[in-house]
C-alpha cells in the first residue's frame, strides 16, 4: 500500500482518548508527553498560587488571571495527559468535548445570571412585611 493511500485511510480512523500511539518497544516518546505535561502543569499551578497572594498587580485583575491560568492548565491536562489532539483521528473526541464545554458554560453563566437578577429584584424582608399589612 502506498503512503498516500495509507494517509487517506488514517483520516477515517478514530483514536481513543487517553491513548497515545507509540512504539511499544521504545516508549520514550510517551514518557516525554507526560513529563512535558507535568512540567507545564506545575509551572501554571505555582504561578496561580503565587499570583493569588501577590500585591504586585492591580487587585481586580487577579481573579481574571486565575481563571485564565486555570483554563490553560485544563488545556495542558487535556493535551498531554488525556491526549486529546487536533488530529483528524480526534474529531469525535473534540466534538464531544466542545458540546460538554457548551453545556458547562450555559449552566454556569445561566445560573449566575439568573440568580444575580433574582437577588437584585428580590424585595427585602421589611418590604415584604409592609406589603402584607
Amino acid at each position: 500500500m502506498s503512503n498516500s493511500e495509507r494517509e487517506s485511510h488514517r483520516s477515517y480512523a478514530d483514536a481513543a482518548p487517553g491513548y497515545e500511539n507509540f512504539n511499544a518497544h521504545e516508549p520514550a516518546e510517551a514518557y516525554r508527553s507526560y513529563l512535558v505535561g507535568l512540567g507545564l502543569a506545575t509551572l501554571l499551578t505555582i504561578v496561580s498560587f503565587f499570583i493569588s497572594g501577590t500585591t504586585l498587580v492591580w487587585g481586580p485583575s487577579i481573579p481574571v488571571a486565575l481563571v485564565v491560568l486555570a483554563i490553560a492548565q485544563m488545556g495542558v491536562h487535556l493535551v498531554f495527559f488525556l491526549n486529546i489532539t487536533t488530529g483528524p483521528d480526534n474529531v469525535n473526541n473534540v466534538m464531544a468535548l466542545a458540546f460538554g464545554v457548551l453545556i458547562v458554560l450555559l449552566l454556569l453563566t445561566g445560573s449566575l445570571w439568573i440568580m444575580a437578577n433574582l437577588n437584585h429584584n428580590m424585595m427585602s424582608m421589611d418590604q415584604m412585611m409592609q406589603m402584607q399589612r
Binding site: 481513543a16 491513548y19 486555570a70 464531544a96 454556569l108 449566575l112
Partner: protein, 215 residues
C-alpha cells in the same frame, strides 16, 4: 520492515497507528476506541454534574449567615500540598498506563502503587481539613456557603475514593488475569477517570480556594 509486512500494510513501528481494517486483531482495536469514546462521554457528563455544583457554590459563596467565610477557613499551604499530590498522581497514572501497554509489570505495579499512595495522601489531608472545620463549628450545616463547599469538594473527594478502589481492582485484575485486551481497556478507562479528577481539582483550587482566600 520485511517485504511481507510491507505487503500486509503495516510495520512494527506504526502498528498502533493503523486503522482497524488494516491489521489483524482489528476487532480489539476498534473495541478499544468505542470503549474509550463511551467513557469519554461519561466523563463529560460527570464534568457537567460538577459544573452544577460549581454554579451552586458560586451563587451561595456570599451566603455565610454571619458564619466564617473562606478567607478565615482555608489554609493555602494544605491546598498546595493537595494539589502537588494530585498532579504527581496524575503523572504516575500516565506512567502506569505505559507500563500496562508495554507489559512491564514493575512499571505498572510501581506506578499504580505510587498513584494510589498519592491519592490516599490527598484524601487524608482533605478529610483532616474537613474534620478541623467541623470541629470549629464550620460544618456543612452552619451556612449555605459551607453546605455548597462541602457538597462540591466532598463530591470530588468521593470521586477520588472511588478512583482508589478502582485502582486497587485494576492492580488485582492485571495480577490475576494478565494484560488481556479487555483488562487493558479497563486500565485505559481508569486512566481517563483519574486524569479527569485532576482537571476538576484545578477548577476547585482556583475557584474555591485561591479566589476564596483572595476575595
Amino acid at each position: 520492515m520485511s517485504a511481507f509486512e510491507a505487503a500486509a500494510g503495516y510495520d512494527r513501528e506504526s502498528l498502533d497507528r493503523q486503522p482497524t481494517a488494516e491489521r489483524a486483531g482489528g476487532e480489539l482495536m476498534s473495541k478499544r476506541i468505542i470503549v474509550g469514546y463511551g467513557f469519554w462521554i461519561f466523563l463529560l457528563s460527570d464534568i457537567i454534574m460538577f459544573s452544577a455544583f460549581f454554579a451552586t457554590y458560586a451563587v451561595l459563596v456570599g451566603a455565610t449567615a454571619d458564619g466564617p467565610s473562606g478567607r478565615e477557613l482555608f489554609d493555602l499551604r494544605n491546598v498546595g500540598i493537595e494539589t502537588a499530590f494530585l498532579l504527581l498522581s496524575s503523572f504516575t497514572c500516565g506512567l502506569a498506563s505505559i507500563g500496562a501497554r508495554t507489559h512491564r509489570g514493575s512499571w505498572f505495579y510501581g506506578a499504580m502503587s505510587a498513584t494510589g499512595i498519592l491519592g490516599a495522601a490527598f484524601l487524608y489531608i482533605e478529610v483532616h481539613e474537613f474534620a478541623g472545620m467541623v470541629a470549629r463549628g464550620a460544618g456543612p450545616t452552619r451556612s449555605a456557603f459551607l453546605s455548597a463547599f462541602f457538597t462540591l469538594v466532598g463530591c470530588h473527594g468521593l470521586h477520588v475514593t472511588a478512583g482508589i478502589l478502582w485502582l486497587l481492582t485494576m492492580m488485582a485484575q492485571v495480577f490475576a488475569k494478565g494484560y488481556r485486551p479487555d483488562i487493558l481497556r479497563r486500565v485505559l478507562c481508569f486512566g481517563l477517570f483519574w486524569h479527569t479528577l485532576d482537571i476538576i481539582w484545578v477548577a476547585i483550587f482556583t475557584m474555591v480556594y485561591l479566589m476564596g482566600v483572595g476575595q
